[in-house]
Amino acid sequence: MQIIEHFMSLSLIRTVLLTAFSFCSAARSLSTSVHLQAQAKSKKTLAKPGVKNIVLVDGVRTPFLQSGTTYADLMPHDLARAALQGLLNRTGLPKDAVDYIVYGTVIQEVKTSNVAREAALGAGFSDKTPAHTVTMACISSNQAMTTAVGLIAAGQCDAVVAGGVEFMSDVPIRHSRKMRKTMLSLNKAKTLGARLSLLGSIRLAHLSPELPAVAEFSTAETMGHSADRLAAAFGVSRLEQDEFALRSHTLAKKAQDGGMLSDVISFKVPGRDIVSKDNGIRPATMEQLAKLKPAFIKPHGTVTAANSSFLTDGASAVLIMSEEKALAMGYKPKAYLRDFVYVSQDPKDQLLLGPTYATPKVLEKSGLTLNDIDVFEFHEAFAGQIMANLKAMESDWFAQTYMGRKTKVGAPPMEKFNTWGGSLSLGHPFAATGCRLVTTVAHRLQKEGGQYGLVAACAAGGQGHAMVIEAYPQ
């Protein structure tokens, strides 16, 4: 079997080299041959001449907990700190060996607007290590990682820590704009009379607070509402959604029980017990799922609380290095981080179709097809959103009409898709999910012996991301 597979993969390389990439065939075949010596079982490597090999050394995350549970009394940087410390423990990385830290977050705690820096200092990183925070909705930590990749590729850094945190147990609730204006004027008021008259101007309307909504600013539509419309647009039934949700929970449970989720670190929560497991995984029966009422479009919608990802607290972190640096420090990297893309589209009707747009683009960049991918990890915002994306990816009409492509890219085979659960079951702390996806791909590639993995995710704003990950030779 192995020999046949090996032979087939070699012939694959040859065809690809001879046809599509004749331009750089010499360079590519050179690097291929180098790797072939080190790698017994290989298709081809995606290394590119003149581009640094960048590796994922390791990745960890705190357990993802439903918001309002054990983490309820923390602050976002506490969770981020836990993830960073966990990464240090896991990798044994000297604290001063890190050149830079990039961290993602979506709902910002105003006290720690650069949460990267606060968490890094608290986690004991050198105060000489700069840190910045990025935000790009649900793909914030993807953005953190690709920022790290960029810093290394540009030769500015060798070792960067990236990650993301989301803390939904506490969100900034503001005074109304009217009240804020009054309070700010109050600061400037000089006389008692002026202050009293300002205070006297406060009306009941001033007191109604502003809540942060998970709604698009541009369309004022909540994401769940958009997901329901998207599911309907692609004719995804309630049953299909519930089935997919159940699959996610079942697979997550299996992965948890089987000890697959090795990226999870234990975290002693101050004043509480040690947490070492995600707490949102709850495989139910189809009957139980069917009982739920739609959460957004009532009464005829199909998106329910059970087939949507839930509000989650959690943080993640990864160590990214140039290959030379990792090897020089004696690390055994887990994977190469290869090509990646960001895409964006209509934030109203295609809000959550990022994976459909990003997948063919990143595959094309890497010279791969869907069949070459061994491991798929897609962010599951809603079961309906995943099913809609799968249907869109299977549709020639959609590819031609909306994406300007000749043909469909095809839908990933389910046996390779999110086999350790996903955001629906593990939880989705917005800015922490990206690192979980990448680390999971690396781990699955190792476990399953695959070579290429694909991460794809959608994000608010009608944006999306995809990245190709290559297993590091064992």
């Binding site: 600013f217 541009s218 369309t219 004022a220 509402h225 329901d228 419309r229 998207l230 309907a232 647009a233 692609f234 004719g235 479009i297 005829h300 209509d346 109203k348 009707d349 295609q350 809609a388 249907k391 869109a392 549709s395 009409w397 959609f398 009409t401 909306y402």
Partner: protein, 747 residues
Amino acid sequence: MASVRLLVTRSGCTALKAITARTHVSYEVKDNVAVVRINDPTSKVNTLGRHMQAELVEVINEIWGNSAVKSAVLISSKPGSFIAGADLNMFQACKTAEEVSYLLQAGQKMFEQIEKSPIPFVAAINGSCLGGGLEFAIACQYRIATKSKKTILGTPEVMLGLLPGAGGTQRLPKMVGLPAAFDMMLTGRNIKADKAKKMGLVHQLVEPLGPGLKSAEERTIEYLEEVAVDFAKGLTGKKVTVEKKKGLMQKVQDFVMGLPPVRKQIYKTVHNKVMKQSKGLYPAPLKIIECVQTGIEKGNAAGYLSESENFGKLAMTSVSRALIGLFYGQVACKKNHFGQPEREVKKLAVLGAGLMGAGIAQVTIDKGVATILKDTTEEGLARGQQQVYKGLNDKTKKKSLTTFERDRIMSLLSGQLDYRGFENADMVIEAVFEDLSIKHKVVKEVEAVIPPHCIFATNTSALPIKDIAAASKRPEKLIGMHYFSPVDKMQLLEIITTSKTSKDTTASAVAVGLKQGKVIIVVGDGPGFYTTRCLAPMLAEAVRALQEGVGPKKLDSLTTGFGFPVGAATLADEVGIDVAAHVAEDLGKAFGTRFGGGNVEVLKMMVQKGFKGRKSGKGCYVYGAKSKEKKVNSGAEDILKSFKLTAPPAVSADEDIQYRLVSRFVNEAVLCLQEGILPDPVQGDIGAVFGLGFPPCLGGPFRFVDSYGADKLVQKMKHFEEAYGNQFTPCQLLLDHAKDSSKRFHK
């Protein structure tokens, strides 16, 4: 008549099978739900015509005869149109009021049967649901509408001088309450889906979908059908209830409305309000009140009878004919009769950021066309940009635009003081000061920077286009585009072509105007073109009346009493006394004593004193004060006194003054047709009504001549001519029509 009978016979005969295949209505049974799909293959919208009705009756009877069918869904297969109303031709073909009433009764009967149907009907509404379409929908047991921008519900019959004649006046008050029903039927306003839900006009909303495996439109209709079928099943299984729980306010309102004296007071108040606004010139609103009152006070049978009879009577009125004529005219003026332009205008530049320029820019960017707004001074530019922003921002306050959409639209506007970017412009519209030498300067400057294909349009209200074109190196690309102020509110655009203007240039100007949402008339060149030329003699006559001692308030009430939406004195203030003086002088020079009457010096003196109209705070009236009562400007009165004329008693009765004003307007309009400035009477009527506020109930100057009688008008004019001379000499074409009563402007 024969086909009417056929319709009725069919409705009573369930066994009769369709002999030929149905073309407008089809149905299939899904899970015991009959899905009835309406699609008129001959039109973009569905209308309830004889054919459609006949097929509907047939299908509905078949459904009732099928014991497997437990409920039904009524849906249109057309994107953007459920049913846009009844087929107007059907009524127009009728000779007598009785004939129309008879037609209506057939419709009433059909809807009554649906209302009393043994199985529930669900109307699934996407797109326009108007007039008879709405009456159909409200006869159904349940209504679901898409929350699309295209979904509008309403009873626009009143705007055609008619009333909702298929049960609307009877069902609506019960459904949405008396006040809301009166508001709907008396204003004819369009109601969006979410408002309709709040009012209780529809039970359920469905979100429009984006693209999926099919186009957004196609999939949205499919989805609406799926949801409607589910609700239909729910209704059969008693899982969905039709009755909405009433809130406290609703209960209180119901109680109050249950008291006869309260209702009586409402009828009275509404009646008075209608009389005040319509001056009694429009019979339809009064009939609507009558029908509603009859139905509520004397029961359904009397209500239906009153409805069908009154509809029949209204259909025979000249007001209804006039309004329907305007409706068709408007449709005709929303088409490009000059073909597809060679190049689409993708970038437009507007010169002059004044009221006009900024208005033009606003209606262009909000249709997605990138626009440069150029002025010569920073203050002028800032004022113009603020005007555009305010125009859009006001829409966000009314929620017809989101702040995000406003920002996107504003991003298409480039305010600047130089000619940067003009090299890529496809069309330039100048709206600079009305002075020939300035216009010439602008033509030369602009032509030096624009590409060869670029069209130069001039927005002038009186200067002949060929005079402006004299400075142009490429007169075939030069055209007049006369907008009306305020541009974002006034629907009319008057396009003026010279003998040198190319057809493609015209086609392009019309295309741009249509994109801007305008109703367009295309006229020939000459001083004042068509609209300004008609208005000028009327204003001259108004000035004469003022000089003769008719006060501005009296003048206003005489003109509004005739049906003008704005009184003549107020109109002069709105247009601007300076503009009026300018036009009066220019056109006076061009046309001589025919344009005389009032003394131009009156206007000039007013301008000198700073009484330029509303914009300067003073004109015939004083503006600015917050009080509702407009005060006459005593300064203007003094000027009028110094120019006082003695009114000849033979032609100075109230009615005489009205006809003096109107006959000069009408005579000039007919002369424009005679001289070929106007291509046809339809455009003449549309231009007068939509641009100058000619009484809509008269349908425009040409329809007025037809309905009033050219001979009677000529007689009146001759009477005036004796007192004032050639200003009242009827033109030849009018005389021709007076001589031969078979000659009519409209068939």
